[in-house]
Symmetry: C2
Subunit: 339 residues, 2 copies
């Protein structure tokens, strides 16, 4: 079946890694009709627009969106901080109701990871609520009496659909372990909703073993005993933190793929490597396309191309031969890649 | 000079490690008059009280408080989740306006740490505001339309005094680097207040080199390149997360000391190891008193006993001989210790 894919290469190494991902997807047998969208820092600097309504509407007509990376070069001041993240990435997550952010972490070679422990886990991050809703304000701004409020809002529906999705993923895996991560002892209101919903939904999934960790403890475990995790479900902000940490302890941020999806398929879902634009690697042949390729595999799987996706996943599960390795396997992936 | 110290041993290994810490402090030359307070899970189970007003008033009359650990044994259901944390530890932080939570991390032996990289840094965590204020609620609780709100509140004064303190600490150190950690690209209101205040205060500390990292990136750096950090200043919730992570990558949670202080000395400050009650180690001789001893050294330093404190710090900077090591050096410190 043919799939219409909007490709937002973005900035820096973004276009390089998405074009490799598309190449690999086609080589594996996917029938893709792609259309490139020029968005990101360079586009913003030229036009003063991040994502206009007409482009958003156009994007909504595709079967899926593949995103490379967005962000100006380090030191550039032409793009106000946060404007691309909120105006493009978060806007798409919200506008398309991509309420699941699914991020798999798999250690290919434990000898090169920071903690030398193999990781094989998936983080399901709620992707449309929590501290990302932008609720709050600055009272008496600029005075000595200034107060900043920043709200986190979660709905029963938003929490439940993320948890339910996570239980389904956990059920489909061999170990069938699902851990809720939150900070219920301090965030009593959102924590109560998350915990209560988790316990309620768990009664429908008796085959899944459940546990709970506070987010601070989860950070310790991710470093000292990452093998204890199979599937983690957590809120938007904790998910942001835990997935970068999980990337660091597994194979590095250059290997972190992600799927921002709406399981009900009310529109296109969005697939993107978690890394940044790494402007200093452009054209050097050093950019690692692994995360983009794995994101494309997740996209194909979600589009129903399970066999094609599996072919790619299988190939990705094998460490490339020495000569074909990009520079950063097991290394610090470079400041500019971390966005 | 004599100092009156309230000792809350607490639960599990708490009383063991505080009594070692007091012993060491005295051996190093401190003149301490101690009074034990029986608080914690066991006390709550017996009395139904966490911390009554009379006891709080009494505690306020001391020069400092030394706390061991609080928390019921794993699996015990006699203590509702979070009640001790909020009713004792957080209550003391708020009631005594202990707005600085200072946590030093020092690798004694890089060969036994998870990342095998030496760490020497201090995290200054704002300790009285942010998501810890308990603002929020559950609307339409228990219905399918339930909404949980959880607010984070920061004041200019609260942020500025923490940042100012952090600059002073950074200035006193050799490398003089201070990194603000936040998530300004998403938490636009609190992030704006933190960032703006940081930049403003920095103009008074031109000898300190400053930088900024998003909290997710900071997690990667803490794992892959912890040596980049000298002093970190951050908000209450990020500080909670980052300090457990910093403990995990440096020497383990059994080595993490902390000082909850009010620099203006409006009342007693509170010193405590970051680890938990580890009920399964009680009486085994395996509890590691390092963090409690280091917390006591921080207490003595704060009380003006700089020489005594230095004597202890110096001794702590030397790795104990093989036979004297507790079981968890460089090891996973055990689930029950992580609170
Ligand atoms: C770029 C930023 C807004 C984004 C987030 O915070 O979600 C990123 O860190 C991520 O994890 O996808
Ligand atoms: C016990 C808990 C309330 C506390 C916190 O969240 O501050 C602890 O994790 C800490 O870091 O001191």
């Amino acid at each position: 079946m043919k799939h219409r894919i909007a490709v937002i290469g973005g900035d820096g190494i973004g276009p390089e890694v998405t074009s490799e991902a598309v190449k690999v997807a086609r080589a594996a047998g996917a029938n893709l009709e792609t259309q490139e969208f020029d968005l990101g820092a360079a586009h913003y600097e030229r036009t003063g627009e991040v994502l206009d309504d007409a482009t958003l509407t156009q994007l909504m007509g595709f079967d899926a969106i593949l995103l490379g990376a967005i962000g100006p070069a380090i030191g550039s001041t032409a793009v106000p901080s946060g404007i691309l993240e909120r105006g493009l990435l978060l806007k798409l997550r919200f506008a398309l109701d991509l309420y699941i952010n699914q991020r798999p972490f798999l250690t290919l070679d434990p000898s090169v990871t920071t903690t030398h422990k193999p990781v094989d886990m998936i983080v399901i991050r709620e992707n449309t609520e929590g501290a990302y809703v932008g609720e709050g304000g600055l009272l008496r701004k600029g005075t000595p009496f200034e107060v900043a409020t920043q709200g986190s809002v979660n709905t029963r529906n938003g929490v439940e659909r993320a948890i339910r999705y996570a239980f389904e993923i956990a059920r489909s895996r061999e170990r069938k372990l699902l851990t809720l991560v939150h900070k219920t002892n301090v965030l009593t209101f959102s924590g109560d909703l998350w915990y209560r919903t988790f316990v309620e939904v768990s009664s429908e999934y008796r085959d899944v073993t459940t546990s709970y960790n506070h987010v601070d403890a989860a950070c310790i475990y991710l470093v000292e005993a990452p093998e204890r995790y199979d599937v983690i479900v957590t809120d938007n902000l904790f998910g942001d933190i835990l997935t970068d940490l999980a990337a660091a302890v597994s194979q590095g941020i250059g290997y972190a793929a992600s799927a921002n999806i709406n399981p009900e398929r009310t529109g296109p879902s969005l697939f993107e490597p978690v890394h940044g634009a790494a402007h200093d690697r452009v054209g050097t042949g050093e950019a690692n396309p692994y995360a983009a390729i794995r994101s494309a595999a997740m996209m194909l799987d979600f589009l129903g191309e399970t066999e094609v996706a599996k072919r790619i996943e299988d190939a990705l599960g094998v460490l490339p031969p020495e000569g074909a390795r990009t520079s950063e396997i097991g290394d610090f992936y470079g400041e500019r890649v971390i966005r």
